[in-house]
Amino acid sequence: MTTRGGIVASLVCSISIAYSASIAAQRGGAAPAGGNARQGGARQGAPAPDPLGGVAALGQSVKRPPAPTGPVPRLPDGTVDLSGLWVGGGPTGDIEREGGLKPGTLDELMKPEAKKIYASRKEEDNPHYQCMPMGIPRSTPYPFRMIQTPTHKKATHLFILQEGNIHSYRQVFMDGRQHPTELDPTWWGHSIGHFEGDTLVIDTVGFNDKSWFDNKGHPHTEQLHTIERWTRIDEGHMAVEVTMDDPGAYTKPFTVHFQARLTGLPGDEIMEYICQENNQYGVAQGIKPADK
C-alpha cells in the first residue's frame, strides 16, 4: 500500500509527461505541452511566453492522438505483452525534475568528485548532442519497441529497438543468466531481465562513465547499477521505475519514475534516424563553425 502511494505521489511530482493524457484529449482540448516544454526554464529561470503563440496560432496543427486505455494485452501464456510503439519512459533534460525527485536531491547525494565533474560539464560536450549513445535511463522523444525472442516460448532475449538517439538497440538477456564477474565497460552495460508478475525487471551493470543522465549533465561512474521496473498499467501506458545505485558518484541509491505511452498514431513504425549524418549542433550558438 505504501509503495503504491509512493508511486502515485511520485507521479504527481513528475511533471514531465511526453504526451497528452487520453482524458484531456477526449475533452477535445489541445494536447498538453510535451515533456521538455513542461520542464521549461530549468536553465533560464521562469518560462517565458512564446511570441509566436501555440501551434494553432499560425493555423497549424500537430497530430497527437491519445494513448489507448484498454486492458493490458497478454500473451497466450498470460504474461504481459509489451508489444507496441512506445515513447517516453525516461529523462531528457533533467533526471531529477523529470524523475520526480525533490529539487536538490541529487546535489545532496553527489559525492565531491562527481560534484566537480558535474560543475565542469559544458553543454557542447554533451555526448547526446554528438550522437553518442544515451545509456540508461535516458529517453528521447522518438519511439521504441520491445521485442522478445522467441515468441512462442519463454524468451531468451529482449531487445529494445530505439528510433532515436542513434537508431540503435539495447539487448536484455532473459534466459536466467547472471552478470559476468568481469565486464568491459560499455555505453549500455550488460542487462539481464526477468518478469515479476506483470513487471519486467531489468538489472544492468558494466557501464562506462561516458553517458550523461540528462542534458544538465548529471554524471555517473562505471560502478553504476540500474534496476528498471517496467509495468504496463493499461493498453497505452507503461510506468517505468528506475533505481540508480552508483556508489562512485552518489552517497546512496535513488529511485526515479517516468512513464511511457504508445504513440497512438495509426500505422506508426520506427523510422530511420541516423543522428550523425548531418549534425550541425553548435553552429547556431557560435561554438562550432559552419561548413555549409
Binding site: 502515485v8 504526451y19 484531456a24 498538453p32 521549461g40 501551434v55 497530430k63 554533451n126 559552419a290
Partner: protein
C-alpha cells in the same frame, strides 16, 4: 488496482493543460525564442536528414544583399508523423518562413512555420523538439 489506475488517470488529466512556454533542450542554447523572424524566399536546397531536416532559403536582407538562410526543422521522422515527406519542400519553391533566430550565427533559424506558395501552412516541428511550443 482499479483505484490506483483511477488515480493515475486523474493525475494525467491534471497535468493536461499548459501554456506555450519556452522549453528546455538544445533549442534554448542554439536559438533565441524571443528573436523571431519572418522571411520570404526561394528554397535552394532540402536536406531530409537527421538529427534535423534542413532547408535553405535564398532571400535578400534589409540592404538588398542576397543571402541564404539555413533553416532547421524537426527530424524527418517527427515531420513525417505530422504529414511531411521529403518532397514537401522542393528546390525552387517560394516560401514564407516564420521562426526563431539563432543566438549567434547569422541567417540561421529554427523554422516554426513554413507557408508554401500554394498556401499550405506547415508546422516545422513536433513534440519535444525543444522549441517553445513543443508538444502543442
Amino acid at each position: 488496482m482499479r483505484t490506483k489506475f483511477g488515480i493515475l488517470v486523474a493525475i494525467f488529466s491534471l497535468l493536461g493543460s499548459g501554456a506555450a512556454v519556452f522549453a528546455h533542450h538544445s533549442f534554448t542554447t542554439e536559438y533565441d525564442g524571443s528573436k523571431t523572424f519572418n522571411i520570404k524566399g526561394t528554397v535552394s536546397k532540402v536536406e531530409w536528414t537527421n538529427p534535423h531536416a534542413r532547408f535553405y532559403v535564398d532571400t535578400t536582407d534589409e540592404s538588398g544583399k542576397m543571402v541564404t538562410w539555413n533553416m532547421e526543422l524537426a527530424s524527418p521522422s517527427a515531420l513525417a508523423r505530422n504529414g511531411w515527406t521529403s518532397r514537401t519542400l522542393k528546390v525552387g519553391d517560394q516560401v514564407t518562413v516564420t521562426g526563431y533566430a539563432a543566438k549567434v550565427a547569422q541567417y540561421r533559424g529554427d523554422a516554426r512555420s513554413v507557408v508554401t506558395a500554394d498556401g499550405r501552412s506547415l508546422f516545422g516541428g513536433a513534440s519535444d523538439d525543444g522549441r517553445p511550443d513543443a508538444g502543442q
